[in-house]
Each structure stands twice: as structure tokens, then as C-alpha cells.
Amino acid sequence: MIIQVLCNLFEEGYQRRERDSSISPFFAGANVAFRRQALDQIGRYDESCASGEDQDMWLRITEARWEAYFEPKAAVRHKNRLTVRSLIRQWFRYGYHHPYVTMKHGSRGVRVYRRSSTKQKGAIYDCLLTARFPFDATLFLTSFLLMHAFFALAVLFAALTLGIPAIVMGILALVLAVRYFRSDIDMRHPLQAFSFVFLRYIANLALLLGGLLGGMRLGMLYVSPTFDYKA
């Protein structure tokens, strides 16, 4: 069992040489450059990856002891033309294809988390538990997952007319839900806040479902790393 602290490491500098080896970011394919010599050594992009090819390249190039350098001044801007439908599809795809990368790289694959840049530099994100059981399961224990687990338990206990445990589980689910949604809540823009809550929830749900189905396809249990933000 690996305890993974998700960090946003993206300050300029070497990512491999100077960082904790248990934490692996990766570079987005929309803005990355390779030395030809390194590409000739590690090979090309894995054409079996329908998504997650960037994580795969990261793992292979760092495995081959090449240095990875992040230079935020080399900036590109991405234009979004997004709909709710494309958002759901995108996150479902991420989830569906990530088990392949995890399976290909084992525990190193688990450590690569899909977030490459987040809004707060240097912020430490929530602790996740990642477990690999003998029957090849990968589980990211996140507050998104926990709040649903507690909610399910609360419903179960209530159905069994166990009042106190139901209330305790209900409170735990509520606390986690507040924690999960807090960063989206901005009372100056209630409509926008509600939309953000909704969008992040369905994106995570799509990621989770995609991961479960994609894992099943490969004969493994895969619970995706759903994302939280610190308020």
C-alpha cells in the first residue's frame, strides 16, 4: 500500500532529479518537447493508448534516467469549446483508458496522476491511499469516494433501523460533501457556484465509471483518482 500525497510540483526546474521519487507529475502532450536521442532510446508514443499516452511517455523517459524539466515560461494557451456532453465524454475517456497505463507500469503507473497543472502552485492536495491487492486492484481513496461510501452506509443503517450508526454515517457523509464542494462555493455568484458543483460532480462521476468499466475490460478493479481542490 502506497500513501500518495498529491503535490502540485509545477515550479520551474528538474522534476526527476530534485523531487521526491514517490511523486510523478507528467507533461501534457499539448506542450512538450523531446530530445530526439531520448525518443530514439525509449521509442515512440504507445499506439495502444487511446488516452494516457502522456503519462506513459513520462514513465518511460524517466525510467530511462532522462531528466525532465518544467519551464513554465514556455507557455501555450488552450482554447476551449466545451459542452456538458463533451466534458462527460472526455472524463469518461480518461477513466476508461487509464487502467491500461496503470497495468502496463504497475506501481509507477499508479503514481502518475492526471493533473498536470492546477490553480495553486505548491499546494499540497489531499492524501490518497492507493492499494494494489493480489487480485490486481487499484484504488484511489478520495473524499469523493468516501462521501458516497458513508452515504451508502447511512442509507443501509437507516434501512436496518439502526438510528445512531445511520446518523453518524450521515454526518460523516455531510462533512465530506461540504469539504468536497467548498472550493466551488462562492456566494457572490450562486448560479455559477451551483454550476461548478454540478460540473465537478459529473466529471468525477464520469471518471469513476470510466475507470470501473475500463478496468473491468482488462480484468482488474480500478477506482479512479477523482479530484478534490483545497478551498
Partner: protein, 128 residues
């Protein structure tokens, strides 16, 4: 894609060569590329089988340079993009890969764009 190519024309350190991979699109990618021939040493490659890794590999195989930088067709590079991208490679021969920052910027007023801007942009100040 036109915006992406235009941002390459404006680079302070111009690319030695540009390879555009058309991944089985049905638009006028080839015509757009031809329009840039006067400004960039640009090559058009058609990859009939869809898939991002496949398209990227087709691009790599068509290049001749020692450093290969990738940018997507829905992105726009800052003027000093390539200049900054190249420096770590020159400074240190052990550097095999350099990543840059991808930020999201607003082109409409949709709530989903706002969501992406809030969640995906890093701490750096937005330039738009």
C-alpha cells in the same frame, strides 16, 4: 489551427521546421498549411488512422531536428515559447524532455469554460 500556425510565425526563436499532422480530418488542413509556406518551413503529413499517439508518431517520423516540440491545433503559443523550451536542452545534455505550461483561456462566456479556467489554470496570472 490557423491561430496555432500564426503563433509559430510570431516566435522570437523561429522553428527550423514545422510538421503539421492531419489525422484523418475532413477540413481544409492542407490548404491552410500551404498558405503558410512563405512564412514557415512547413511540411504537411497525412495520417489516415485516427488516434493521438499515432498522429504524434507520424509527426516525429517526419521531422529531422534534434529537438521536437509538440503543440496542439487548438492551442496558441506565446511569442517566446520555443526560446524557453530550447534552453534546458542546451544547458544540460541529460535533459530528455521539457514541459511547458498549458493554460486555458476564454473564447466565449460558457459556464464550462469558466469551470476549466478556474480548475485547470495555474497560479500564474492570466494574460487575457
Amino acid at each position: 489551427m490557423k491561430d496555432a500556425l500564426e503563433s509559430l510565425v510570431r516566435q522570437s526563436r523561429l522553428p527550423d521546421e514545422v510538421v503539421v499532422v492531419d489525422n484523418a480530418s475532413e477540413d481544409h488542413t492542407r490548404d491552410v498549411v500551404v498558405g503558410f509556406k512563405g512564412n514557415l518551413n512547413v511540411k504537411y503529413v497525412y495520417e489516415p488512422i485516427r488516434g493521438i499517439p499515432r498522429a504524434r508518431n507520424a509527426g516525429v517520423n517526419a521531422t529531422t531536428g534534434d529537438i521536437i516540440a509538440f503543440i496542439d491545433d487548438d492551442c496558441v503559443a506565446d511569442e517566446d515559447w520555443l526560446k524557453h523550451m530550447e534552453i534546458p536542452f542546451i544547458r544540460d545534455p541529460y535533459v530528455g524532455v521539457v514541459g511547458g505550461e498549458v493554460s486555458y483561456f476564454r473564447i466565449g462566456s460558457g459556464i464550462i469554460e469558466e469551470f476549466y479556467i478556474k480548475n485547470m489554470n495555474s497560479g500564474r496570472k492570466s494574460k487575457d
